[in-house]
Symmetry: none
Subunit: 186 residues, 4 copies
DNA sequence: CATGAATGAGGCTTCATTCAT
DNA sequence: GATGAATGAAGCCTCATTCAT
């Protein structure tokens, strides 16, 4: 029970921080406001996380894990075109269900301040992602798998970007279907 | 000469601020540092710009104008596929020549803080951009011009995003050629 | 015409400053806001008034003149009790007609910052006022004229203070009649 | 001892701020100078008081309590005329012993800036004061108790005003005796 | 007389972080 | 593990005033 309570406060801080970073941005979220919303003292937050930057890194790592889970859901199916279809479906599902999750990730990867804090973690994540996608395209078109992978990722990133941050009303369903059509045909 | 001197300090502030916002991010750039680098007193910056936010808005508006110029370069040629090719070329050229220009734009459109400051201006810009692109696709495939436009923009945005912020080494030339091939064939 | 125009801008500054000082207080009124409301440049205001303090002193002096005029209106009548009645009437009339005029005077005489700027002028004014009132009471009760004068002034000041700054709804008419009754009977 | 130390810094801030507001005026007292004189860091003052305005409000509330105490000292005695005499004595005593206490109160109630900050508290205080005084006059002259109360308060306020802010040398003792004579006779 | 760009000190407030309890 | 008082640097902005034109 002590442990669970201990974990609960720590996790509470992470949850609240994740939400506030997504809503307000890292630089506009104060440690004080995280404490307030998490119902935790200033002393405690620094007992669990050495600095605000460390807290961000921990959150980023956690989201990386979650993104890997999403991308691995597709690996169950064997046929590469099916894998792509599943991957696309999964991503669009998440994109619509948890906008703030993706918004946060775009934020912190683009903002110079947070980028440099997370530099190594960003590297790791994108390398991992690239490898995953490339495994699939290696089975479809080994000669162009690199280019195809980059293009595939760019299309998904671009849609996410436009959906989340550029256009106020976005035909997300139409684009999802378009992507599935483009990539799931043998 | 009066005019040039008068304009010079104001413009100097804009130039320095644009660069620092791109390099460090809006929230991590202090008015004091802008003053210092522009060789201008703290008071003067507030003589010309009511607020740090106003300064950002002015910069954003200026970049919108510049983006419109870029996109209009393609309108000279008559054939729609040629227009697309020209547009893609222009964009990739700018993207490689002035990374910080695009970085800044991605930054401020994604960061919640700056987004809300610029909300109306972002709306205007993306509407304008959408209209421009759609004019071209209306001539190619009127029935699907909306979807095509969104997809086209997503691809370009995604490439820019990945190039500027995700991957450390990016095959930008290969992607450019791929895009030109995809869109310039009749 | 040049002269009148010259005077007009100068007077305009005085008028606007008087109003703003009364509405916002001296310390909360910036030279810039006076310029803006008076439609005058910063250079010009400093051409006419050496400093913000000088502007205040000039305004205070002008209001002193106006107060003297008011108090002299009563000297026409010969009987001392009539003089008091007239004086009271005049003061209550002004108090109700031009609240901000009196408010300003109370403000700047009480605020330590403005008090010290105006120290000598405040002395002069109160000495003059005291003398005027005492002339009247000398004719009524020479032995107690000093005390009577102080008490008379205190009553009027107190009513003004309470009316202008303490109570939201104040039976000003009732107090006026009470004062007239108290002092006009032979 | 923990408590005393905890309270000590907070109270120290209040004490210093009260004194400086009285001496220099609210607008001319910087938070920095309060910190300096209280031997406290800039951060701490904002740990205890959200805002400079809040600090003022707290001080004003405290002075209201003190004024209520003073006015209640008279309620012990039963006869109304005695109550008035006691009240007058008390007030003159305080007025002479702690000029800056009253000066501060006049200041902030008259300065437009501070007035609006304290608007509700001023209302409360004057309502309370009025009620207290009226209780006494209800026992003396029920038909005119309202007018008598207003007049009584005006006289005291006017004397305080003139004593503290208008005249350089003021026969305060003579006026005190005059007031006691006027109100303590049955 | 008239303008408005320019200055620099100083004001209020925020914030990450530390530390005694 | 938990609290919250305390710090001090830094941030945005305001303002009286000066001066070249």
């Amino acid at each position: 029970m002590y442990l669970s309570k201990m974990e609960s406060k720590r996790q509470q801080v992470i949850d609240v921080a994740t939400r506030l970073f997504a809503e307000l941005g890292f630089e506009n979220t104060s440690m004080a406001s995280i404490c307030a919303e998490a119902g935790v003292s200033k002393g405690l937050i620094y007992h669990h996380f050495a600095t605000k930057n460390e807290l961000l890194r921990e959150i980023f790592s956690a989201t990386t894990l979650r993104m890997i889970e999403i991308s691995q859901a597709s690996e169950a199916t064997s046929a590469p075109h099916e894998q792509l279809a599943t991957l696309i479906s999964q991503l669009f599902k998440q994109l619509q269900e948890d906008k703030s999750f993706f918004q946060l990730n775009l934020n912190i990867m683009l903002q110079p301040g947070t980028r440099s804090i997370l530099h190594d973690l960003i590297q790791e994540r994108s390398a991992h992602l690239m490898t995953s996608v490339r495994h699939i395209f290696d089975q479809i078109d080994p000669d162009n798998s690199e280019l195809c992978s980059y293009m595939f990722i760019a299309e998904l990133d671009g849609i996410a970007l436009d959906f989340l941050s550029i256009f106020d009303s976005y035909p997300i369903e139409a684009l999802k279907n378009h992507m599935i059509n483009r990539y799931s045909k043998a």
